[in-house]
Symmetry: D2
Subunit: 317 residues, 4 copies
């Protein structure tokens, strides 16, 4: 049903300007949201911001601090949410004190949280009934990408709305990919991260095997990277300490994309698969492995720590 081609792929022209008169509200100032807002400010925006944690609101310079979500959306015609999970997004938008009824007609509500397609479609429908336009626009790139303004937005909803909001998104990211109807952004992100989780574990298994059998990990990576085993997990984010610089495996697996987050995404992918009876055996097993690692206190580490877990050295202290 999403027979679109990848139309607005890879925009990096940072000189694109958004409508000068767009008023942006931003709700959710965690690790990601704070950085995204700061990039909006850098590009001349003065967003209305809100978070349940007051200090998160007050610490941002150049924004208009608000003391409630309702206050934040007041007068805004673009509202962006960046929240921990689908339930919180639903509570925030369509809950008892939900912002939807406060949002002006024809405004654009864009959710960058990772929620799965079900929540996205539910919100799209609710928004439509309130004459509000809704886009699901989860991101990849993590905290590093949010900081650098190089996030990739995967967008589902109406293509015209995507085009319209694109200049604003490009203040925070490097790519805006229109993926199809409502929910398509969420599905695309889950599919990508399903592959990511599985491929990283496979790569870690092979690296651990090769190294234990005496191979030099750098040499093995070099060969894999010009062969059929090549992937982002081996050539850009290698899980073995010493093979690459500036990746989590070079920094005690701190920073990066946490085990908890990949586990969350694999869980959402599993739910989505369940809803349509699609078998995902390796994703299910990967989900279990990452969850076992959480049980062992590795939830906050970068997910490439699976290499250490397989090595038997991740859980000593």
């Amino acid at each position: 049903m999403f027979k679109n081609t990848l139309k607005c792929l890879v925009k990096i022209d940072k000189n694109v300007h958004s409508r000068p008169n767009s008023n942006v509200a931003f709700i959710g100032l965690g690790q990601m949201g704070t950085r995204m807002v700061n990039n909006l400010i850098k590009h001349g925006k003065q967003p209305r911001v809100y978070d349940v944690v007051p200090s998160a609101v007050s610490s941002i310079k150049g924004a208009i601090p608000c003391s409630s979500a309702e206050e934040a959306v007041d007068g805004a015609n673009i509202i962006i949410t960046m929240l921990p999970n689908g339930q919180i997004v639903k509570d925030t938008v369509i809950g008892q004190k939900g912002i939807l009824k406060k949002i002006g007609k024809n405004s654009l509500l864009l959710d960058s949280s990772t929620t799965g397609p079900q929540v996205a479609r539910e919100l799209y429908q609710a928004a439509k009934e309130s004459s509000v336009r809704f886009l699901d626009a989860p991101v990849s790139g993590g905290v590093v990408g949010a900081q650098a303004g190089t996030l990739c937005f995967m967008v589902g909803g109406d293509e015209g709305d995507c085009k319209e909001v694109e200049p604003v998104l490009l203040h925070m990211g490097a790519k805006v990919l229109f993926c199809g109807d409502s929910g398509a952004g969420q599905i695309t992100k889950l599919c990508n991260n399903l592959i990511l989780g599985v491929t990283m574990i496979g790569t870690a298994e092979a690296m651990n095997l090769g190294v234990k059998l005496g191979l030099d990990p750098k040499l093995l990576s070099d060969v894999v990277n010009i062969s059929t085993g090549r992937s982002w997990s081996s050539d850009t984010y290698n899980p073995v300490p010493g093979v690459m610089e500036n990746v989590p495996s070079a920094k005690n697996y701190d920073g990066g994309f946490s085990v908890e987050l990949i586990a969350k995404d694999l869980g959402l992918a599993g739910d989505a698969a369940l809803s349509i009876s699609a078998p995902v055996p390796l994703a299910a097993m990967s989900h279990q492995l990452f969850r076992t690692m959480i049980t062992y206190g590795l939830g906050k580490k970068d997910f490439s720590v699976i290499y250490k877990f397989l090595e038997g050295k991740a859980v000593d202290n």
Copy 2:
């Protein structure tokens, strides 16, 4: 223990000439061997060839047909074997009628079969005791690479021997990668193919999930290919019919790298992992999935047929 750097990486200068006085014997004229021999002949060699199937021997033009392995190695100083599995290699080299005792002192025996490291090291040792030099040199690239002369040789043994035989190998392939001590070629190949098997299944799971949820497979592939889910399995060998041309998924999964062969390699990788207690959970599960597919009559299809298997449409007729 194999702390070498990847020295002889990516040689594509096809003008390199091997020693004019090298006499090559080639044993094993299956799908791979026949094509490799033909490329040797194209480059001016006249190899002595043998196979247990007489018609395989007689059908090659430009080679010296031999009626036994012993006859083939007579007078050869480079002997190449390309056989179905490790047991057959062992029988051929050190069995009761094994060729090792017929090979001249200081000759070079190179095995391009996929056998696992154990067999490679055993043969290296036996060869050494007979003053014969031995290299394990399994290949990637499959029948297509063998035909085109673009195979990649992963070599274990003594580096000087690798350098010496490299010109001959480059008649049959595009790359010669020295990986380390005896067995290192085998280990490298198994590690690469472990990743390959796991990544292909993960990619197929995500593609099936996305398509069943309404995404266009081409668009999903395009996004994945510029994202963290990118891999050879998605950007070069996509398993979904219609996404790419000239790959097995475009041709009813005929040709390519068979389910039987990836299952064999994952089995060897599992054995190697067992020998050193390295956990390989996803590889083990992938192995089981491919073996289940063999049980359902898909053993000869290209391994990307896992997409069809997950879709529930591979096993109807």
Copy 3:
């Protein structure tokens, strides 16, 4: 938190009488519900019955047919629901036309559907706010147990309520097990069925392995049944045709406990595990295997058909 002992274990005195003045309503007349209602009638009850399918209602002799759920609960002080899944139970009880507001104060609402603990606790809470008592009481025993009146009820909620409704339940089943606070009946059922699904597949793997290696399946089962591999799956419900009589494997895997239902229960167990970060690797893999079997058209067969699936003969026509 459920530190109770198994107090009302195994009641089989069928002469126990329920309060003569109890008025029972029964909502949900599928395969299970119809048979349960018939057993109530046999024991002298005249339940008020409702189902969304009118013919299901009219075909029951001896009950009071109702044309809506609201009508069914009118005047009843014990209300039993037996519905396909948690969403339908929630819609029926607390949805827009939900029965909860029509149920008399202090009445007892008992849900025998398998819904998972979350739904049970939500309904318990909602019921409490309406001064209605709520028990979760999923059953094991299947269609056969429902027909014979030998179901096992696993009950969560307040123990006094369990005791009170026990005589009514024993008209439909042979055992009433009080498991603890609200949700405990659901959890107990999911835990039991998790083991069941995993053990059945493990048993089928071993039987298929042994038989393919030449063992007689009856002899192998006999040995397993007096050894450490013994389980209900091998000694009472053996998956290999010819080993036992009167089990689904003796009848082309028709009847019994369907692949769809065990897959549903493993899915609910997985959700519950997710909610508390408990790793369930084999359950997850079993879930995937059963779901793959559904993809291949085996969803309605008894779940012991996994034996045939592993054998490679389940999916031919």
Copy 4:
């Protein structure tokens, strides 16, 4: 091919006497062998014993100590081996200093080691060529059963030979099960232990899930044990501390059947499955889980420690 019925099932008449003139040799005096030999002595035998560890030989009272395997078999007409693995058995029997050529014609060689069917059949064949009769007779019951004389022997080979040696075996065990042709004892043991490994993990997953969700483990076990989840792993060897007495889970998982041994058996089962293309997905995953536990230093603990591993508390110190 092994269409025998379970003829000699469950012999416990300990007054059965073996041929008074049988001379027994016993090779392999580890944890199992020493205890088995002591039971032979208790029943009036004076076996000729040997082990590669001299102190193991000298510490047995009432046996005839020998300084080599060859010396041990000298004059014996029943030779029993109990060794760590198939390779050692092969070395001992048909290796360069193998005992086979020293064993008298028509004597009976019985191997109680767990080796897999391949080794058993190889030895049967070799023995036959030397006019020696061979039985594979692996045991279940572990160190506890060896101590108490309650082992169960699973025997493959010629049924007459099984009958003949039965009285001697019943000095060391409580059951002698004739399973079929050569190798059938090994296959039977592997099949049983495959189920055992899978079922124990499934049981541990469910128990951990239930307990984390608030159920009392004793109550949950009681329900499972009268339901479809019942198995030896739950009703006889429960993995949760506090549920049963006198099982490893009650004693810090010391003693019992080690993780290393179940991993070994699952590995052999996997090899056997590979040889005939039988899919064993849960066994493969179980194998990986037990091997991961070895990596974390739990190899010597009883295999029911999987409960602690899933709980996330097995690997702290």
